[in-house]
Symmetry: C2
Subunit: 433 residues, 2 copies
């Protein structure tokens, strides 16, 4: 079989795994998915690369040591704290590993299926594992590419009649984020302190953020960078992307409102950004490619690409107060609503000559849909606190309270299987006194 | 002698070196300076740590190998591509190396002075060396802390009567920059392409920047970071700073003007930022500490510090057209004019809980003085192109033309010696066709 048909076979909806949990129709980690991450476990504290399959994790370092996973030059890239060295091997290597794993985990392949001793060496139960930040992130950029979100924010804080600024429709507006404070799902997030400008006082006061918010986003991870001065063409951009994660761009709205003119958000965002631990590859997302929204006016030439460059990824946000039994789903939307595509974002980012590096993270911007229950932030869902949300266990929310746990989820729905992202979770702890 | 008096002795204005070039009164690299950098040379292509002294560079790896430089646990940190591992040893180690070097290079110390074979091993002529980026930069932040600059920009683009925005006087406004494109002095800088909004056209056009500019800045390098959620107090902040460099924040004014609302500058800045190769330590700058400008209103408590936290650093900018014999000095100013101090910048940066890491670079923002010839950008010097500058060899400039070489210089003037930064140089090459 050719490499292309091998790759195609990894996407076959009828392929099942001998890891039975992976065959549950609503499990995020089907054999069609095979997302990459970094994990450790109670018996082996060393961080290493893994792939999620059902309720199990395949230990790639152990699999390679057992002679069951081949890499060019037998590269030693899996016994690492991050995926960067693996990703840097390039797309042919990612695809080769995907193909080998799909075959090994297939119900039809006996190698691991029928060898309990070998399985014990290379499989770790996800319940026994701790997941870590999957990549070392040299640079983090955040875009602002949902038309609905930009319109909502513009309506609230600027002019409802001209909510969308003129530049917004011409380019994927983005800004540099803070890479140091990107944390993996499950890391507690401390409510930030900062300057708050209260309406009844002439000068700002210092204190804990009173309008703490989420931003429901996805992020993509650069798999192949570009040299300084050498832009990435829009048509080539997806080949530079390793995969996607869920991303919660925690935002202190009151700090942001006071600080952001003229240089953009800073302390309102730099205290934490949470990402999901598993990177879902662009290869796994291929069957879920859909047309992106019509772009009017037609973008300038450097932002044009033929074909379908959006992806059908269902997204939802849940809020669970501390010790509450039930979480409340506060938003449901879809990544396909995004106006600017990832390819356009990357082409725009580099068109000035800016270089990117393996592991760079690029956030989509808040993903808001067209309806009031599809907005990707509390700012929009409660219209800046004017319309509190009802929670299942009683109580209401305008913005996040201490002890609230926020969970993002996302998945592509296939025919009888899912390609999902796992959870992106963060609980807010009280501000520093 | 105590460590404190040893450190004090390294600042003694009367101390001279047996490296005679270091004793020239206007040489940047006196024995009082001892800045750190990364170099390679024609006979040894490996990058390694060095200290500049007059026209020579001390090879710290070779000095340690020769048993003349002691570090705790004999740490192996100098035979490295960057200074990060050395810096991470902490302030006691930086100071110990400074004291040892000052003693070894002193005219009164025979060890190297009288041993030509040893000198040949540990000294490299600066003329034979190539200088590299001194640190791996995990994060780059740029501030906006000159009151004169912010007032000038506000006057030009917003309202001359209310040029300074209300938040500016309350906090050191800053934003995240792009670390990947920070380059070392001497690296050619390609003119960026991007979206330009011309006044006579409804939609933007794509093309080469027509208003390419410099921003005269300094930057400081983090020597000791802070954990996520644990701010650095203003009074402690200087202890977290390893040293300073000159920084040219190249800016595409036309791209910036169109893109920057509401999330701040992005492609207008991400194509390149040039820094000088030698990091001048805060210890070397100690004698040049001066009072910072009066801050009115008095800053909020978290931004207060006692004592003098500005530094008297003379700064100038030269422009030399390609192949021109003479450069023209287009601006002269001083770092002491900066309204917000480095300590306040770092305290503000971390007050939200944002973490910093060894090697993080923090730009001062454009340093403009009170007079028209002391502005730190062509935007201000030519008042957005309305008042062209006359060049020495004839011709004029509003913004930078292809082939122009821009050089920043900076130094502290001591009694008979200088603590200088060396040059921060970049030549502009034509945009990609």
């Amino acid at each position: 079989m050719s490499a292309v048909s091998d790759l195609q076979a990894t996407l076959d909806p009828s392929r099942k795994s001998w890891v039975e949990s992976a065959n549950e129709p609503s499990h995020d980690f089907s054999i069609q998915n095979l997302p990459f991450g970094i994990f450790s476990d109670t018996t082996n504290g060393a961080r290493r690369a893994g792939v999620a399959i059902g309720d199990e994790i395949v230990d790639l370092a152990a699999l390679q040591a057992a002679g069951l996973l081949k890499l060019p030059s037998n590269a030693d890239v899996f016994a690492r704290d991050t995926l960067n060295d693996f990703i840097a091997l390039g797309r042919d290597a990612w695809r080769s590993v995907r193909i080998q794993l799909s075959n090994l985990l297939s119900r039809d392949t006996a190698t691991l299926r029928d060898d309990a001793a070998l399985r014990a060496k290379v499989l770790v139960r996800a319940a026994d594992a701790r997941l870590h930040l999957p990549v070392q992130i040299p640079g983090y950029t955040d875009f602002y590419s949902s038309k609905e979100h930009a319109t909502n924010v513009g309506s609230m804080f600027r002019d409802p009649k001209n909510a969308l600024l003129p530049n917004w429709s011409e380019m994927p507006i983005g800004y540099n984020g803070r890479a140091s404070s990107v944390v993996v799902s499950g890391t507690p997030v401390r409510r930030p302190n900062g300057q708050l400008k209260l309406p009844d006082q002439e000068r700002p006061v210092f204190g804990a953020c009173r309008k703490l918010d989420i931003e429901l986003e996805t992020g993509f991870v650069i798999g192949g960078g570009n040299a300084l001065g050498e832009p990435i063409a829009c048509a080539d951009a997806e080949a530079h992307i390793f995969g996607m994660v869920l991303l919660n761009d925690w935002s202190a709205r009151d700090i942001q409102q006071w600080e952001y003119v003229p240089l953009g958000p800073f302390n309102a965002k730099t205290f934490a950004t949470t990402i999901s631990p598993w990177i879902v590859t662009l290869d796994a997302l291929e069957p879920f490619r859909v047309a992106h929204p019509v772009q009017e006016p037609e973008p300038l030439a450097y932002l044009r690409h033929d074909g379908d460059h959006a992806f059908d990824i269902a997204l939802e946000v849940k809020l669970r107060p501390h010790a509450a039994k039930q979480a409340t789903t506060i938003a449901r939307t879809n990544f396909r609503h995004m106006y600017w595509t990832m390819a356009q974002q990357l082409a725009h980012h580099t068109v000035s000559g800016c270089n990117t590096r393996v592991g760079d993270l690029m956030g989509s911007g808040t993903i808001s849909g067209p309806t009031e229950d599809s907005y990707g932030s509390l700012l929009e869902l409660t219209w800046n606190g004017k319309k509190p949300l009802e929670l299942k266990d009683g109580g209401t929310r305008t913005f996040i309270e201490d002890g609230d746990e926020l969970t993002l989820a996302g998945w592509c729905q296939g025919d009888g299987y899912r390609v999902g992202f796992g959870a992106c979770v963060g609980e807010i702890v009280a501000a520093r006194g």
